[in-house]
């Protein structure tokens, strides 16, 4: 009986071993007949591919490759560039934008792309509240839209604005008008205008995109025939998959993962300048929309000098080095350096709050916070002073930053209590201003108007945290005046100047100490893919762009195209050999074990 059992085990083991031996060969056969494929380590969570409802970054990264707006952001510098509209002009009263559509452009199913499609898309969002999840804020200030002819589309604004309103993905009317637009899943054989179309989505195997043969910029400009977003739930595994040749591109690496891939001969690592800033917000004494005090921020922070002292006590360079592994750009204002049009390129003398602990102590003395015998300052009434720093536990960089900032502030005499909790708790607390300091971060869009708008006095929330959203619970009427000016300033140079001035005001107010523009760490198989187009071209990101330039430009390495044999690098014969060895070893082991057991039984 035992013998039979062991034989069965042996057979099962042999079957498993054969799987090792057979499958890689099968994979090669399946891959080679579908042209060149770029395999990307993708997310596992996609909310919906319905562009009206999609909000997750994982989803919008995919949809960006499928749809165009009237106006795109150039790869070179993120400036406005022709999309489905080849040109546009603004009326003298600055209220009406007139777009001229690209001539001869077609959807991926061969239907022409016309102003009617734009009209349908804008009107649908404006009229139906169920379609406003993704683009509601883009159409908020639009009064009306019309399409006088097939090639012309007009948007009339409620009031003038400098930001181009042509930034909504245009959808094919002939597909969508037949559907219930709010419920349509849009995850199979999608009709689009971008370089790729969404062929299928499966929760197990991910997203499959195929080249759009009708791409209006020219299908020959698209490098790969197919892109797969393969679901990976953690980057440690996707790093191994990259080494294993299962995937060709992985993003979102930690500094440690990134460094570990640097020496792999098949892999190129790339630290890209990104459009995200990380900062520490300081509560300046929040007030709600009605001007009443809200939250529980410490009163000493109402004094600008104290806030400035805190900023000066923090050494951003060291934080970038230690908490970000050196992969971050030094920051000035809130708009990252990847947006040269709006980034505040401050000179050293502008940066008055640069690291300077001595000056910080002096400012705290001036503010009347006296040093106690225990090495900590008291508040103005001489009572002990403790400042809370809220840290979102999900962000290892932040947790690490706190371990540096606490002793630095102690050095200037400020007692900091670090409170590490879930980010949603921090977020809840910050929206009702129940914090002294907390770490935060924002991804910044190509136009900084919205980011600046949430610093206005009118953006302050209701007392319970509902209503408007305020970035730093700060309010300065002078800032609001500048906001209104840039909002309608059509001259790019003048508008840029105003926006830089506004960032300087936030900096001087010391309510949001921007610490770094963190770099995006990516790695790819240099034996499989090349030709990435960065945004901005000089040192910018390959993916998660404002546009599809990176994925469009990526192309297979000539020698590796059409076959993934190099991924495993082992011939089927070798696999069969390995399989046989495993079988022999295991079967042998089983017999040996059996013999030994029999002996043992005899002894007892």
């Amino acid at each position: 009986m035992k013998h039979r059992l062991l034989t069965k085990i042996g057979a099962a083991v042999a079957a498993v071993a054969t799987m090792f031996a057979v499958a890689p060969g099968a994979a090669i056969a399946a891959d080679s007949d579908s042209g060149s494929t770029l395999r990307v380590a993708g997310g596992t969570n996609y909310d919906t591919f319905n562009p009206f409802n999609a909000t997750m970054a994982s989803t919008t990264d995919v949809l960006t490759l499928v749809y165009d707006s009237l106006v795109e952001n150039a790869a070179k510098d993120n400036s406005d560039a022709p999309g489905l509209a080849k040109s546009w002009k603004v009326s003298d009263d600055k209220l009406t934008w007139t777009y001229t559509m690209q001539s001869g452009a077609e959807w991926s199913d061969g239907e022409p792309i016309t102003a009617d499609d734009a009209l349908w898309t804008y009107e649908s969002i404006m009229k139906n509240p169920d379609l406003q999840t993704a683009f509601g804020s883009n159409v908020e200030s639009i009064a009306s839209v019309k399409a006088p002819d097939k090639n012309t589309f007009e948007i009339t604004m409620k009031e003038p604005q400098a930001q181009n309103p042509g930034n909504v993905w245009i959808l094919p009317k002939h597909v969508w008008e037949k559907q219930n637009a709010a419920k349509y899943a849009n995850d199979k054989d999608v009709v689009g205008s971008g370089p790729f179309t969404l062929k299928s989505y499966d929760k197990n195997s991910g997203v499959e995109l195929v080249k759009n043969q009708k791409f209006w910029r020219g299908a020959d400009k698209v490098g790969f025939d197919r892109i797969l977003f393969i679901p990976y739930k953690n980057t440690d595994a996707s790093v191994q998959a990259l080494k294993n040749g299962e995937i060709d591109y992985v993003s979102g690496l930690t500094a440690a993962q990134f460094n570990s891939l640097k020496n792999d001969p098949n892999i190129t690592t790339y630290a890209a300048n990104n459009r995200r800033y990380y900062s520490m917000a300081i509560n300046p004494g929040a007030k709600d929309i009605n001007g009443k005090d809200m939250g529980d921020g410490n009163a000493v922070l109402h004094d600008k000098k104290v806030r400035q002292a805190i900023v000066m006590a923090i050494d951003n360079k060291t934080l970038i080095e230690k908490a970000f592994g050196g992969y971050g750009q030094e920051a000035t204002g809130e708009v990252p350096a990847v947006y040269p049009l709006y980034h505040w390129d401050a000179s050293e003398s502008d940066l008055t709050l640069a690291y300077n602990p001595d000056k910080a102590k002096q400012l705290l003395d001036e503010a009347g916070l006296k040093m106690g015998s225990d090495g900590y300052r008291t508040d103005k009434e001489g009572k002990p002073l403790e400042l809370r720093l809220l840290v979102g536990a999900e962000y290892p960089n932040w947790v690490q930053m706190a371990t540096y900032i606490k002793p630095w502030l102690k050095e200037v005499g400020l007692n900091v209590k670090v409170i590490t909790e879930s980010y949603s708790q921090v977020s809840d607390a910050s929206s009702v201003a129940k914090y002294d300091m907390y770490f935060t971060g924002w991804g910044i869009g190509a136009d900084p108007d919205w980011q600046m708008s949430i610093n206005r006095c009118s953006s302050r929330p209701n007392a319970d945290g509902s209503g408007q959203l305020s970035e730093s619970n700060w309010c300065d009427p002078e800032f609001d005046k500048l906001y209104d000016q840039q909002h309608v300033e059509m001259d790019q140079t003048k508008r840029s100047e105003i926006l830089k001035k506004m960032q300087q005001m936030i900096y001087d107010a010391a309510v949001n100490d921007v610490i770094t523009y963190q770099q995006a760490l990516v790695a790819y198989r240099k034996d499989k893919v090349t030709g990435w187009v960065a945004q901005p071209t000089d040192g910018g990101i390959y993916t998660q762009q404002n546009g599809y330039w990176g994925y469009m430009g990526a192309k297979p390495v000539a020698s590796a195209s059409g076959s993934s044999a190099s991924a495993s690098g082992v011939s089927p014969a070798v696999w069969a050999g390995i399989g046989i060895v495993i079988v022999v070893v295991i079967v042998g082991g089983v017999f040996f074990a059996k013999k030994k057991h029999a002996n043992a039984d005899d002894e007892e």
């Binding site: 169920d130 993704a134 990976y232 953690n234």
Partner: protein
């Protein structure tokens, strides 16, 4: 194994023979009417299970409302949203209704088998769960089966030869694996078998972008299954080993074993046919507890190996918080645990005649 056991008052029937033994025992010991006793027993237990289920349904709604975070805000976080948009989203989800109204809707929907619609995926929760049940059971089921077989087999061997090298080595190894963090062990396997040896895929349930069918698909899935199952099995078989070992040790000095040996049975047969069946009872409880937990998935293993399972769905839902998904999975998981416990009580009574006295 199917031979009948020699009649002996001291030897309770093994599970293989359970039903007939049960009938015999019922006739002999409960002459006043076993059916009535059974009916009362089942009713009591079913009543208890039902009470638990109601508690779970109520708790499922209120417990998750304590979580910090505003679903509307976190779903749109990092994006440009107007207060009007946020209001529209809250209205869409029914979050602008009073809590008691939301609760009533939750209750009535649940009676219709509707667990609500996910905030994040815009899909019915029943469908989300349905899609992931298969992969989840495949992973947790294979791992549970394997660890059960390995654990029980090694456990009885170890007990039978207590304090030998075999016992010490296997108990030691099992306990070491038991103490190893799953996350770390899984990554180690990926590092070894995918990153270095290039033998097995690093994650997922099937190779993306392929259209395998039939045997090729099975092979592909099994290849993806190997590493996650090994890591789950390695860290969990120790519990069966230890339980089996200790319960067998308790039987080791039973007189009936001496009798069996005196009949000239081989040592292996004494162990397998006489000692082990009696030592199985605590293990049965353990098995049912495991069965109940299977559907909940294994968050860490699913995360490490990017397995499309229910554990990860639940974990992700916490961060939104995606109330319908949390409620739905909580009720379904708890419901299954309750049902399994109920079944365990019944099976236990069937296989252990002492409980029927």
């Amino acid at each position: 194994m199917s031979e009948t056991i020699p009649a002996s008052g001291a030897v309770p029937a093994p599970p293989a023979d359970a039903m007939s033994a049960d009938e015999r025992a019922a006739e002999e010991r409960d002459a006043r009417g076993g059916a009535a006793g059974w009916g009362k027993y089942i009713l009591t237990k079913a009543g208890g299970a039902l009470c638990s289920l109601v508690m779970v349904i109520v708790l499922g709604f209120f417990a998750f409302r304590i979580l910090p975070g505003d679903p509307a805000k976190s779903i749109t976080s990092g994006r440009q949203v107007t207060p009007a948009q946020l209001e529209a989203i809250r209205h869409q989800y029914g979050l602008d209704q009073p809590l008691i109204v939301q609760f009533w809707k939750y209750l009535t929907d649940m009676l219709h088998g509707d667990l609500g619609t996910s905030y994040v995926y815009h899909e019915p929760v029943t469908r989300l769960i349905g899609e992931r049940v298969g992969p989840t059971i495949l992973l947790t089921g294979s791992a549970a089966l394997l660890s059960l077989l390995i654990g029980l087999w090694l456990g009885q061997r170890a007990a039978w030869r207590r304090n030998t090298t075999f016992d010490r080595v296997h108990t030691g190894i099992a306990l070491i694996f038991w103490s190893v963090p799953t996350f770390w062990f899984g990554l180690l396997l990926i590092f070894l078998f995918s990153g270095t040896l290039h033998l097995l895929p690093s994650g997922g349930m099937m190779t993306a972008g392929t259209s395998y069918a039939g045997l090729a698909l099975v092979v592909d899935v099994v290849r993806h299954l190997v590493l996650p199952v090994i890591s789950m099995t390695a860290v969990s078989y120790a519990q069966y080993l230890v339980i089996m070992r200790s319960s067998l040790l308790e039987e080791m000095n039973g007189d009936y074993l001496t009798v069996a040996r005196a009949k000239g049975l081989k040592e292996d047969d004494v162990r397998r046919r006489h000692a082990v069946p009696n030592a199985l009872l605590p293990t049965i409880t353990m098995i049912f507890m495991t069965l109940g937990g299977l559907i909940g998935g294994a968050v860490t293993v699913e995360t490490v190996f990017s397995w499309p399972g229910l554990g990860y769905l639940t974990y992700q839902a916490l961060s939104a918080p995606d109330f319908p998904v949390l409620q739905g999975t909580f009720v379904v998981f708890s419901g299954i645990v309750i049902i399994m416990n109920f079944l365990a009580e019944i099976v236990y009574r069937i296989i252990d005649p002492r409980l029927r006295k």
